[in-house]
Amino acid sequence: MNTYVLKTLWRHRTRTLLTVTGAAVAMFVFCFVGSVQEGLHRLTSGADADRSLIVFQENRFCPTSSRLPEDYARKIKEISGVRDVMPIQVWTNNCRASLDIVVFNGADPRQIQNSRPLKLVDGDWGQFSSQRDAAIVGRNVAQRRGLKTGDQFSIGDLSVKVAGIFESTVPSEENLIYTSLAFLQYTRGLDAAGLVTQHEVMLTDDADPDRVASEIDAALRAGSVATKTRRKGAFQASTLSDLVDLIGFAHWLGYACVGLVLSLVATTTVMSVQDRIKEYAVLQTIGVRPARTMRLVLAESTLLCLVGGVGGTLLALVLLGVGGFAIGAEGATIAFRPSFGLAISGTLVSVIVGIAAGLAPAVQAATVPIVNALRQA
């Protein structure tokens, strides 16, 4: 009976190919949208997002507009619950939402190595620590910009030598380029000697993040610049708020893709069953049970959907893997990465939609009055 299903699909290969292609395109978009959603979710809800704080200049948004004294780090460290503070100078080529955002984070190389979940896949930490204009580049940026260790990379007034490429368990980190703090502070145009964009505060295990955040702002209120301290996740969500709304809306696009696959495969299956209603009557005359007739139709629709859906999902995962896509705004970025979850959800959605698309025609094939169907030309 499997032969019957496969040969039927093969015999109508133009129709099969068109349906599979349609399902693949829709599931490709579904996975891409899913990847954006996952990226946003990781950015705002990971452990890192809850257990570290970002101290930013009050009422400032773009990194270039936040200018905090570097020595705030010393005062912040004195507050109970603070394990470490990392002053960071941020530079970005675009403060608006962009798909090709380049973000430099300048910080102490030793602190970067100790506090960030980074692993060099090429190059070495020694060169990065010792050479003033050395930079380590996130895998996504390297893929997108075609960078490799030893390259000289220039953007705007910045020019760095790539000392290594890193990967990270936090995908958004892979959209960053790290340099030493001093290098970025003294870059022409930034004029930020003794200043940083933000302080990243690492908390002790038992510290209450909101309490510490309030105490930091209170302690620095008497300083030259007022601050606004938030959990890292909340800070990033706030920074990307415009994008968050768009991404939230984009999930409807994902549902629309599922609906598209459903209607496409359902249309094909309905047409196929109507064309071959006499065949199903013949099969039942031979002794094929109605339930088995239903299964034949469901197998056909599920196979169409599964082949197209899995094809589209795999293509999306491969592209997400090699493309290094990201979207960002105001120095915060969302990485589009492939994931096991996306592969599973793409496959599951394909199977469920395939079954749903075949239900009505399957019932039609199984319940058709045999004698009437046999009389059809």
């Binding site: 093969w10 015999r11 031979i286 002794g287 049970r289 109605p290």
Partner: protein, 238 residues
């Protein structure tokens, strides 16, 4: 007990505002091993009778017992199981599955039975051999002539070793020469394999090959003498 027993079978159809009753309280017995042909004018219910015996249509009243099973009481699923094990159906228009080869078409009914792959292969090969199409096993229906298609249809009907085979005008769409070949084949299957056959036909010559010829006229069966062509009313024992 007869292999096929029809008692008080009635069947009506609605055609617009009109109700047509081709079968009205009919009785019929067919013994095991018989080859029965059924003739009659168009619209007298010959094919309807065949469909009722096959369980692909439902009676309005009466009962049909085939090989000890009252098919009129079975559900649609049970009827399918029953047909798979007990009934072969030969269609007028062959109705082969176009995407399957001759071998695969004949194999279809055996897939519904509990057989090993070896048993299945043996049965299919025997059935194709019986209809003289072993050398056409890998051909698709579009690559076969009308007569060959019908012979594949016959092989498909007998491959599961059914207790009864029904044939709805099996020579109706064939030319004279091919029609004669199919008639000979049916006669041989009846005699050599002892298959019980119930055949509906318009063709008096085709009907003549049957061991018993019936004419359905105005809802009543008449026995037809193949030599004289005279029909007389059937006398039931009960």
């Amino acid at each position: 007990m007869a292999l096929v027993e029809l008692r008080g079978v009635s069947k009506s159809f609605r055609k617009g505002d009109e109700t047509i009753t081709p079968l009205d309280n009919v009785d019929l017995d067919i013994e095991s091993g018989e080859f029965v042909s059924l003739m009659g004018p168009s619209g007298t219910g010959k094919s309807t009778l065949l469909n009722l015996v096959s369980g692909i249509d439902r009676v309005d009243a009466g009962s049909i017992v085939v090989a000890g099973t009252e098919v009129t009481k079975l559900s649609r699923s049970k009827l399918a199981d029953w047909r798979a094990a007990n009934l072969g159906y030969i269609f007028q228009t062959h109705n082969l599955i176009p995407v399957l080869t001759a071998y695969e078409n004949v194999e279809l009914p055996t897939l519904l039975l509990k057989l090993s792959s070896t048993q299945r292969r043996q049965r299919v090969e025997l059935a194709l051999e019986a209809v003289g199409l072993s050398d056409r096993a890998d051909h698709y229906p579009r690559q076969l002539s009308g007569g060959q298609e019908q012979r594949v249809g016959i092989a498909r009907a007998i491959v599961a070793h059914p207790k009864v085979v029904v044939a709805d005008e099996p020579t109706g769409s064939l030319d004279t020469e091919t029609s004669e070949q199919v008639q000979v084949l049916l006669q041989r299957l009846n005699k050599e394999l002892d298959i019980t056959l119930l055949m509906v036909t318009h063709d008096a010559e085709a009907a003549g090959i049957a061991s018993r010829q019936l004419v359905l006229d105005r809802g009543r069966f008449l026995e037809r003498d193949s030599h004289s062509g005279v029909s007389r009313k059937i006398q039931h024992a009960n």
